[in-house]
């Protein structure tokens, strides 16, 4: 499965909209932490999107969570 571009709106939506229904532990923990970061400081959004995109690029097991974003 291909990873959406870092400009894709799904990354931001995962960090601000309804909690995405992901299943892998790492995805759950990371999104939870990044949503907290963005809630506390909205200017952290670009860095959070970069971390989320990098995570999906690095972890093959997380591919199954992409469809939930």
């Amino acid at each position: 499965m291909s990873i959406p571009s870092i400009m894709d709106p799904r990354w931001r939506r995962a960090l601000t909209g309804d909690e995405p229904k992901v299943t892998s532990l790492a995805t759950r923990l990371l999104i939870s932490r990044l949503r907290d970061d963005v809630r506390r400081d909205p200017s952290a959004m670009n860095d959070a999107v970069s971390q989320l995109h990098g995570f999906f690029s690095a972890n093959a097991f997380a591919a199954r969570d992409l469809s939930a974003l």
Partner: protein, 335 residues
């Protein structure tokens, strides 16, 4: 991965054969092992294929047949930020931390912010001792590559995997959030005096006494669907101590009742029999061992050390942690 509960002689022969190995055993048992490609942590409690067991003589070994290379390092409190900097391109890291040490406290609070934490699986456990020796001896970790035994530093093994194998860490947790009030703590830490209970500030110890809540069941926070426990260590006059830190601002609830803990855990574990535990790298918590009376009982097909804290990216309590190696092509998956 191959899980084995061995005599120190058998484990020594295995190490001498050159395999990559993760070990758990009493400090005396670990001290009997030769140098080689292994790291280990102290605990005399184990989940074996025959059930939970206290044993000071044998060692629990997991052989990593799919490892193509390893790097080991030790890290004190100040070196934690660079803990993961020496990882391989494809693999996982296995971390052992002595209980009650400064590095244990620091990891518990700061793990979430470790650079690159989620770029690759990190699992491990907090090393322990015989509960009868509390206050008399200290838990240790051992770097088998150098022969160092340490009470105040963590040891990590970074494992490189073949390109067509990747690792995934997960947890097996009996507990979910109950339907009680939201509990929010104003500060992060292993102790709490004040807690906001459904919006009202309360002394947490007093509130626990008033509600008659037991401390065998943990606090549970929902991390985007992952149920993360914080176990109670003790309720004092005006404060409550935990085995892992509560995080400021996060919403906790008391765990939903499971009825009789030993039978609930037994039923839960029976449902895990087909969950691939025999080939997983796993560990389980000493609190589950005690509260669910696991001595002589199995936890599905999962075997491994019984620990004073579990690590799956962050510090966990009252949880079984597992790591599985899966076949696949990382590059293809990321295309």
């Amino acid at each position: 991965m191959r899980n084995m509960f061995l005599s120190t002689r058998e484990a020594s022969d295995l190490i001498a054969s050159g395999v990559v190995l993760l070990a758990a055993g009493s400090a005396q048992a670990l001290a009997a092992l030769p140098r080689g490609k292994w790291i280990g942590g102290s605990t005399p409690y184990f989940m074996t294929a025959e059930g939970g067991r206290l044993d000071h003589d044998k060692v629990f070994c997991t052989v990593l047949d799919n490892a193509v290379d390893v790097r080991c390092a030790v890290a004190g409190e100040s070196e934690l930020p660079s803990l993961l900097s020496d990882r391989f391109g494809n693999g996982f890291s296995y971390l052992l931390i002595p209980a009650f040490s400064a590095v244990h406290q620091r990891f518990a609070v700061d793990a979430h912010g470790l650079p690159g934490l989620y770029d690759q699986p990190l699992i491990g456990w907090v090393t322990g001792i015989d509960l009868g020796d509390l206050g008399k001896v200290k838990p240790v970790v051992v770097n088998g590559m150098t022969g160092e035994t340490l009470e105040d530093k963590a040891v990590v093994m970074h494992v490189a995997l073949k390109p067509d194998i990747f690792a995934e860490a997960d947890i097996v947790n009996l507990f979910t959030q109950g339907d009680g009030p939201d509990l929010v703590f104003p500060t992060t830490g292993f102790s709490a005096s004040t807690c906001v209970v459904d919006g009202a500030e309360r002394n947490f110890a007093e509130w626990l006494r008033e509600t008659g809540a037991g401390t065998e069941l943990p606090l549970v926070a929902n991390y985007n669907g992952a149920m993360i426990n914080v176990a109670f260590q003790g309720v004092h006059e005006n404060k409550v101590d935990f085995y892992a830190p509560v995080v400021a601002g996060r919403i906790y609830r008391l765990a939903a009742s499971v009825g009789d803990y030993p039978s609930a855990y037994g039923t839960y574990c029976n449902s895990l029999h087909d969950a691939g535990g025999a080939t997983a790298l796993s560990c389980n918590c000493i609190l589950n061992y005690l509260y669910a009376s696991l001595e002589g009982r199995t936890t599905g097909s999962f075997t491994g050390p019984v620990t004073f804290g579990e690590i799956a990216y962050i510090l966990l309590n009252q949880t079984l942690v597992r790591l599985d190696l899966l076949s696949g092509n990382l590059a293809a998956a990321a295309d």
